[in-house]
């Protein structure tokens, strides 16, 4: 019996729940949408979402209601909603579960959002590798059309909505909202210069809201149970539940929905069953690959946006990666940098050139070819990337590097002075590919 009340996972936790339209309908599905179409005005919905304190679950934690309110009221021409389902942050797999197991929950959230912002077209930009998710969503959309909860003149309200699934082609950067827009438009996925922001010039240069899957899945519940109920969950400005995906050397890795504000300790040692083999915790990443690493001394930090930020990291996508005492931090940093280097879109100089440069140094250190001054050069290079790139990818890629050096500088120095990795004596051999 879970300790905390489930909201997003509630339906799928019931045995026999298939996520079909019929099943979803039985749990009271689409009543929220019907309710807003019949009773609510768009302005009221936005107010309600604002009052609930719902914040973006993709990574940045931007207040959702506020984002919706940026769409110009007097705009003539189309507006769009893009649901960001390009879940690619290493360690993150919550949206996948939400889409595959309860697709109508997020579709209803999308429908409500579209009504609130006046969009008649919505896109779900789904990660290319999510074959199953895309198929399930296509089926769910077909069901929804058939049941007339989307399509023309829904519930006789005069409001019409079309939802399309757009599959990505394998680029992490397309999860960045403006690169996502470019990609839907059929162009190479690379972030746009901001301003202008998508709320004014988004998809096809029209006002656009881009929300994460989990964010939108929360919306029907806020409408059904009220902003006050939602705001009562969590702590401070981090309201509602959050799905944390725990991975790494824990006994029970997986997605867990808990109210925001539970501590990291509770998450790792209680909910996820503690470290495998009773090893000691060395470090953890609290919010996906781009969140700076944290140390055991941070175990009592509550998992909410503000507390994690205060502790020097970010809640990000809610993916908690646990590293035990046998983990080589240089190797971990290098491994993350391999990912970021592979995924840098190549548009702007600091990220394009910096990612390759930083990776080469990390590889050298791990292989035992580190040089004196390498660590300082790494920090210097990270500093030259930070704040100078087109999009937030620059900050994302340096997060793990700067934090791992901050917390484990001695381990880097040890690699250099001992000319090798104390954890992987044969690193050079195993990496010779």
């Amino acid at each position: 019996m879970p300790k905390y009340e489930l909201v997003l996972f509630k339906n799928m936790a019931q045995s026999g729940y298939t996520g079909s339209f019929t099943d979803y309908k039985k749990t009271g599905g689409y009543t929220a949408f019907e309710k807003v179409l019949k009773e609510g005005s768009p302005a009221n919905i936005i107010d309600e979402v604002k009052k609930s304190g719902l914040r973006g679950r993709g990574g940045a934690g931007f207040p959702t209601g506020l984002k919706w309110s940026f769409i110009p009221k007097d705009h003539v021409g189309p507006r769009y909603l893009c649901c960001n389902a390009d879940e690619s942050e290493p360690g993150t797999y919550k949206d996948r579960q939400l889409m595959e197991r309860d697709p109508h929950q997020m579709l209803e959230g999308m429908a409500i959002c579209c009504y609130a912002i006046g969009a008649a077209t919505a896109y779900i930009y789904i990660r290319g590798e999510f074959d199953l998710g895309a198929e399930i969503l296509e089926d769910a959309i077909a069901e929804a059309y058939k049941a007339k909860v989307i399509g023309k003149d829904i519930f006789g309200s005069g409001f019409s909505l079309d939802i399309f699934v757009h599959r990505g082609a394998g680029a992490y950067i397309c999860g960045e909202e403006t690169a996502l827009l470019e990609s839907i438009e059929g162009k190479r996925g690379k972030p746009r210069i901001k301003p202008p922001f998508p709320a004014i010039h988004g998809l096809y240069q029209e006002p656009t809201v881009i929300n994460n899957v989990e964010t939108l899945a929360n919306v029907p519940h806020i409408i059904n149970r009220g902003a006050e109920w939602f705001a009562s969950i969590g702590i401070g400005k981090s309201t509602g539940t959050r799905i944390f995906g725990v991975s790494g050397q824990v006994n029970r890795p997986g997605n867990y929905e808990v109210p925001m504000g539970v501590t990291v300790r509770e998450m790792i040692y209680d909910i996820a069953g503690g470290i495998r083999g009773n090893k000691k915790l060395k470090a953890f990443i609290p919010g996906g690959a781009s969140a700076p690493m944290m140390k055991p001394e941070h175990l009592d930090t509550p998992l909410d946006f503000e507390s994690i930020k205060e502790a020097g990291s970010m809640l990000g996508s809610g993916a908690i990666t646990v590293m035990d005492e046998d983990t080589c931090i240089v190797w971990a940093a290098m491994n993350l940098m391999e990912f970021f280097h592979h995924e840098s879109c190549g548009q702007c100089t600091p990220c394009r050139e910096g990612s390759g440069w930083v990776l080469q140094i990390l590889r050298r250190i791990e292989q035992g070819h580190g040089r004196e001054g390498d660590v300082d050069q790494l920090l210097d290079l990270c500093g030259r990337i930070e704040g100078k790139t087109v999009c937030a990818f620059g900050e994302a890629e340096i997060g793990p590097i700067v934090s791992s050096i901050k917390h484990f500088r001695a381990e880097f120095e040890q690699h250099i002075s001992e000319k090798g990795c104390p954890f992987h004596p044969n690193a050079a051999l195993s990496m010779a590919h």
Partner: protein, 867 residues
């Protein structure tokens, strides 16, 4: 609201236009900000991050190329934070950059070198293995060296935003990012050279001049291109008296720095080994190269002898419309005044005279629209489907209007408009494409005229003209127009309404009308169409006739036609000279005994048999040319002329803009500029009293000739722009407006054959440019793939084209292209003039323009000979 914004840059107040970018404002304040991806021609992309500046109240550094100024903004471009950031970006750019400056053609004019000098560290912090790419090529003319690339994407953006060819794109990610080509279709790359010009480093360079120069050795001279009437300013760059490279400075000239393949890669013709370098006399016992003194004496003596024997009218002269204003002026003066013959014509006879003569008749001037008018227009009616090929830079202006003003484009042309053609093909960009049958443009003029007359003709139209026009079209039904042109009534109405309702409409007319049958009359009807559409006499409206030659407008204005004296003053109808074709006929009759041909090769441009017989009938043929031709082979005297790159002078482009040529190199060999040759001959032939100095030297410079020419012009000759209302009312009173019932042109079982221009060639000169012959050096028949399949023709297969009169016909290979409509064929004229022998030649009843660009032919497979 004020459109001015005042901000502080490095403590200095700067006031600039609203919307200015910080980087531009800083430049005005004297602070140049280092940059790579920024370019004034392109939309900001902010990818290089070199131009970061500190702006008060903004937490992060901002890219000055993408940030617009705002009132009270405080900008620091050289603070410690900024300098540090620039150093960082520079270190990143130099990290993987190869140390190949000594062999890089960009060395010396490389932005990376320059900014590294200013912002780079003395030592490189980069201690890793450099990432490397293999060198590769974009086609035969462009080298791609991605190790040097700074990924600023200027090339990609220029190709997308300015040229509209979309030939380039980004490939791969992260530090393996590179620029790649997506040129899978015909003409996907137009080889305009723009990517080479705009590349800040040596990533894209020309293969044509690889390793031929170091940039600082080049002597640069700004001049005007002579490949078409667009009038582009280009910089001829010479090393050791040889043109080694051509560029065009951003923003300069009518072309604002954009060039086409001919301009950028076509310079090889100038220093070509085939150039004529010494005067040549053809004597009974062989050819003799002689000195200029000898050649001048011989020429003047022979001409004098003819005049004495047969009278002055036995002499005729034809000058190319690619000669300067000074040359044409002196040539007509030599003919008319010194020799005393009225028989003087120019290459403008091949079509452009139809435009100038009709437009001056209706409006009192042919200066009716400029490129600015095109760019700012909201509707363009273009009777030139091949505009990208004939006049590439003027076509860029059309694209700019579409891109920037969402101008509506209406094209009238036999070409297909489908996307599969190629992206910068104008009909492909059209809002409405009236796809007429080959040679039936005049039916389309009729259809549009009728549609406007029946709707709401402009109220400013003179009543007399309106009445005449209404009468003229009254008996003609849209059904008969549709039968002839293939365009329905509703299509005409839609296009007519669009053009009629435009705030600023410009009509553009190309060779399909000007060189088509009865082009003069068609041009008059188009002028009337512009009047009833209300697109005349208001700012920003007008008509632009496209010229194939660089100085067709000028040649006419300088008096290079029997009907026009300098300044387009009408010549004495009592003593009217012969035009080109009439001269040929007169020579055949034995009436004309001596012909002086300057840069003209009628054996190529007119029906060969007839012209050859006529030329052989002459007693004296003088040819003045750059290269030996079929015609120079028949001449008794051959004078070597200098090319446009070797002389001063002026060209008047198709807008009527008079622009200056400057010599970039000394005359090749012993060649002389045309004006100088005429000046000396004038001195030698002139019997009137002259000062000894004039007798000896003639004019001292092209500028002196120009001064004299300008004095001969009527007042306001070059300043009058836009229609003269008084001229229009005179025309309205006197005009005879008539429309023939259009005839159905399609001939069953035959193909409509159109001869036209290729983007890569213009006239004969371009066929000497190795850069251009690399792109196209053999004739080919374009045929629609469906037709090819129906006739089971393979790509490149030789076929036979023939007509009733010419059963033997000619044989050429075919190439499939979706640009041509089914049932039509296109042959580029530059390498297949023989194809013209298949086409009927009609002569314009008013202007005598020979029209022979289209006709009907049978196409048949060649059966394999049993051998």
């Amino acid at each position: 609201m004020s459109s001015q914004v005042t901000l502080k840059i490095n403590g200095q107040d700067v006031t600039v236009e609203k919307g200015t970018r910080v980087i531009e404002a800083a430049k005005l304040a004297g602070a140049e900000i280092a940059h790579f991806c920024y370019h004034p021609k392109l939309k900001p992309d902010a990818n290089c991050r070199m131009c970061l500046v500190e702006i008060e109240k903004m937490p992060k550094l901002q890219t000055s190329c993408s940030t617009e100024v705002s009132e009270g903004m405080v900008v620091e471009t050289a603070s410690e934070k900024v300098v540090d950031a620039q150093k960082g970006v520079m270190a990143f750019l130099l990290g993987n950059h190869p140390l190949d400056c000594p062999e890089c053609d960009q060395g010396g004019e490389c932005q990376l070198q320059d900014f590294a000098h200013q912002h780079g560290a003395m030592t490189s912090p980069f201690g890793e293995v450099k990432r490397t790419f293999e060198k590769s090529y974009f086609g035969p003319l462009i080298e791609k060296e991605m190790n040097r690339c700074v990924s600023c994407l200027r090339c990609v953006r220029y190709c997308d935003e300015v040229i509209g060819a979309n030939a380039l794109g980004s490939m791969n990610r992260g530090s393996m990012h590179e620029v790649g080509a997506f040129a899978r279709q015909e003409l996907a790359c137009e080889f305009c050279g723009g990517c080479i010009q705009i590349c800040p480093v040596g990533a894209l360079t020309s293969r044509l001049a690889m390793f031929d120069y170091r940039t600082w050795q080049l002597k640069k001279t700004e001049s005007i291109c002579n490949y078409c009437g667009d009038g582009c300013t280009l910089t001829l760059e010479a090393a050791k008296e040889e043109i080694t490279r051509v560029s065009s400075e951003m923003g300069t000239g009518r072309n604002s720095g954009d060039l086409c393949a001919r301009g950028f890669f076509g310079y090889g013709a100038i220093n070509h080994e085939s150039r004529l370098t010494r005067p040549l006399l053809r004597l009974e016992n062989g050819d003799l190269e002689v000195t200029w003194q000898w050649a001048f004496d011989k020429t003047s003596e022979d001409l004098k002898a003819i005049v004495e024997k047969y009278g002055a009218k036995a002499v005729g002269g034809v000058i190319s419309a690619q000669c300067t204003n000074e040359a044409v002026y002196l040539f007509q003066k030599l003919m008319r005044e010194t020799i005393g013959t009225p028989h003087i014509d120019s290459g403008a006879r091949f079509g452009y005279i139809n435009a100038v003569s009709a437009l001056t008749e209706v409006f009192g001037t042919a200066r009716l629209a400029s490129y600015e008018d095109i760019v700012q227009s909201d509707c363009l009616l273009v009777f030139a489907g091949e505009m990208t090929e004939t006049n590439p830079i003027a076509a860029l202006k059309v694209k700019e209007a579409i891109r920037q003003n969402s101008a509506k484009l209406i094209t009238v042309s036999p070409y297909n408009a489908r996307r599969e053609t190629y992206i910068s093909h104008l009909p492909h960009l059209a809002h409405q494409h009236l796809q007429v049958q080959v040679g039936s443009e005049s039916s389309a003029i009729l259809g549009l005229t009728k549609a406007i007359l029946e709707a709401e003709p402009a109220s400013a139209t003179p009543q007399a003209m309106l009445a005449k026009m209404k009468t003229a079209v009254s008996g003609i039904s849209f059904e008969s127009i549709e039968a002839a042109s293939g365009i329905s009534e509703s299509q005409f109405q839609k296009a007519a309404a669009l053009f009629r309702s435009a705030k600023r409409g410009v009509l553009i007319v190309g060779r399909s009308v000007l060189r088509g049958a009865e082009g003069h009359e068609a041009m008059l009807r188009l002028a009337e169409l512009a009047v009833i559409s209300g697109q005349i006499g208001r700012p920003g409206c007008g008509i632009l006739p496209l010229s194939k030659e660089s100085n067709a407008f000028g040649a006419l204005e300088m008096g290079g036609a029997p009907e026009f004296l300098p300044g387009l003053q009408l010549s004495d109808p009592e003593n009217k000279g012969y035009n080109l074709l009439e001269m040929v006929d007169a020579a055949a009759r034995g009436e004309i005994k001596a012909l002086y041909l300057v840069g003209e090769n009628p054996l190529r441009s007119l029906p060969q048999k007839k012209v050859k017989a006529a030329l052989e009938n002459l007693e004296l043929l003088i040819c003045q040319d750059l290269y030996p031709t079929e015609t120079t082979a028949l001449a008794q005297i051959v004078l070597p002329a200098s090319s446009y790159a070797e002389q001063s002078g002026r060209f008047t482009n198709q807008e009527g803009e008079i622009q200056k040529l400057r010599p970039a190199i000394d005359p090749v060999g012993n060649s002389k500029p045309d004006w100088e040759i005429f000046s000396t001959l004038t001195g030698k032939l002139n019997t009137k009293e002259k000062t000894p100095y004039q007798k000896l030297r003639g004019h001292v410079s092209a500028d002196a000739v120009w001064k004299e020419a300008v004095m001969a012009m009527p007042e306001g000759w070059s300043t009058q722009k836009g229609a003269k209302p008084e001229a229009l009312s005179v025309y309205a009173e006197n005009a005879q407006i008539a429309w023939q019932l259009p005839e159905k042109t399609v001939q069953d079982g035959l193909f409509a054959l159109q001869v036209g221009q290729s983007l890569f060639h213009a006239g004969q000169m371009s066929t000497y440019a190795s850069g251009l012959t690399t792109l196209l050096n053999a004739p080919v028949i374009l045929i629609h793939p469906e037709d090819a399949e129906r006739l089971s023709l393979d790509e490149g297969e030789q076929v036979q084209l023939s007509t009733e009169d010419n059963k033997a016909g000619i044989q050429l290979p075919v190439k499939t292209s979706k640009k041509v409509a089914e049932g039509t064929l296109f042959v580029s004229e530059h390498f297949a003039l023989s194809v013209k022998t298949l086409l009927p030649l009609s002569v314009d009843k008013t202007t005598g323009v020979p029209a022979g660009d289209s006709g009907w032919v049978a196409l048949s497979k060649i059966s394999v000979a049993a051998s």
